[in-house]
Each structure stands twice: as structure tokens, then as C-alpha cells.
Point group: C2
């Protein structure tokens, strides 16, 4: 297989840009993620491929909960902020105000929609771990044109 | 959880529209799929959530191989053709000409890019089964603006 062809082909897959958060005790983890999709209607499942050396992975592996935030196309700066390591100060994570969700995962107040989930299964075969999660809460308070990788300057967002 | 909020929120996730094919002996399966993402760079993995009662799932579960085709934004009619049950006649599947790939999976000649993969693991927790596959071949012969769910008349494509 030609690795350049493989790279060009896999970059044609369409992805959104999301911020995933988690908490385990006092520890908070948050990161921009792109490799995420719904995986079932009943029960409502999503699948996400997450770097196992990330802070958000460490938190969700311990606590079994996470939140996924959908950003608006105008919120590219928010996605960029979560490429950096997690920093929590004065009710903000990476500068974004948050509150605790029903699972305990941090909910970013400026996201246009979010859902909270509980980890159901993990598959560790590659440099990202596939995490299958059940959606237990979802809120979509405003209209939103979701931010996508293809509309961003990035080819991969974590 | 409000089911209407959940539905509206999960519809904000960004997906492409792909045609997945597989073969097992003389049997061919093909279907439009949307819940699919890359899942690792090394090894190159993808994850897809596939309806276990579909013909394409029956074939890939038996043979352990599948091909995923990326369609151009102008090929909405091709995606629509694979919403129907698989029909193979005279070198075509659902009216689309194909050849056998290196894995034996059918390769649609009109797709703008495709990759072939081998099944590595399955997770059966919901009404779709999560299939983690390793990419073993990829070709991207032409320029392509990939077809996405958000640019289609559909909210879900299988």
C-alpha cells in the first residue's frame, strides 16, 4: 500500500470538531477530538477514538464518564484552545467557563450543544483507543451550524 | 433525558456518506453507511457502526474484509442507489460497475477514492455493531469534494 495514497484517502473522511471533557475526582481533562460518530440509536451509543496518553482519556478511563460538546462554525478559537494541555482556573477550563453536568463531567457553557455519556466498552488496538459510550443526557439550547474539520485549517484535530 | 433534545443534538454530529462493500464467496453485500471514522494512524484503523441484519455485515462478518468508497458531492445518486438491497447483475452491484479488490471486496469503479480493510474487532452493544478494521489498501485517483450527510437531503444514511 502506498502510504501517501492512504493518507490522502483517509483525509477524505468527513469529521466534525468537538471538545470532549471528563473529570475524575478533582482532576479535569479536556481535548478537541475529531474521530467521533454515533454508533447506535437504541441504546443511543457513540464511538470515539481517543489518544490514551491524553488527560481526557485518563479521566474517562477512571470515572467512566465524559461530555462531548458541539461547536458552532464560528467557534474555531474554542477548538484551538483545547489543543493545549488542560488548565483549570477560577471556574474555567482552558479559559472556557464550565459547570458540572449530571455525570460530573464538565459542561462548557459556550458550546451550542452537548451530550453526556457513560463508557460501555474500549478497544485498544491502535495509537488511539476506541471508546464506545452510551448517551445519558443531551441538550441543544441554540441553533447551530456545526464546526467541521473540512471547514477548518486543520486536517486532524486530536 | 429528553429524547427530542437527544435526537436534535446527535444530528449535529458531522458525517460523510460512504458506500461499504464486502464479499463472502459468491455473495456480495453493499450499503450506504454514514457512521464511520478513522480510529488510529498506526496501525491505520477505521471504525464503522453497521446494522448487523444487513447483507454487507453478513459478508464482512464471514470473510473479514470490506471496502469503503468515498463519493464526490456530485454522486448523491450513487449513495441513494445503495439504500436498496444488494443486487448483482452483469459486473454491476446496484447498477454500479465493480472489480475485485486485493482483499476480494468489490471496488466500485466510479468512486473517487476507496480503501480496503480487514476486520480486527467487533463490539455488539446496540442496534448497529461497531466494527474496527485495519486499512490494507487505499487509492485516491481523482480530486474529490467528499459527499457529506449535511449536504444531502438525509439525516442518516445507514
Amino acid at each position: 500500500m502506498d502510504t501517501n495514497s492512504r493518507k490522502r484517502t483517509l483525509r477524505l473522511l468527513s469529521n466534525g470538531l468537538y471538545v470532549m471533557t471528563s473529570a475524575s475526582g478533582p482532576r479535569v481533562g479536556a481535548a478537541t477530538v475529531t474521530w467521533l460518530s454515533q454508533a447506535s440509536f437504541t441504546p443511543p451509543l457513540v464511538m470515539a477514538a481517543i489518544r490514551p496518553n491524553s488527560n481526557v482519556f485518563a479521566c474517562l478511563a477512571e470515572s467512566g464518564v465524559a461530555a462531548v460538546h458541539i461547536l458552532d462554525a464560528t467557534q474555531r478559537d474554542v477548538a484551538q484552545r483545547f489543543f493545549s494541555p488542560t488548565t483549570v482556573t477560577g471556574g474555567t477550563v482552558n479559559g472556557e467557563p464550565y459547570r458540572a453536568g449530571i455525570t460530573g463531567a464538565p459542561i462548557l457553557k459556550n458550546a451550542c450543544a452537548f451530550f453526556e455519556c457513560c463508557v460501555r466498552q474500549m478497544v485498544a488496538l491502535g495509537d488511539h483507543t476506541v471508546v464506545v459510550m452510551e448517551v445519558v443526557e443531551a441538550q441543544c439550547p441554540r441553533e447551530c451550524l456545526p464546526l467541521t474539520v473540512s471547514a477548518s485549517p486543520w486536517a486532524y484535530g486530536g
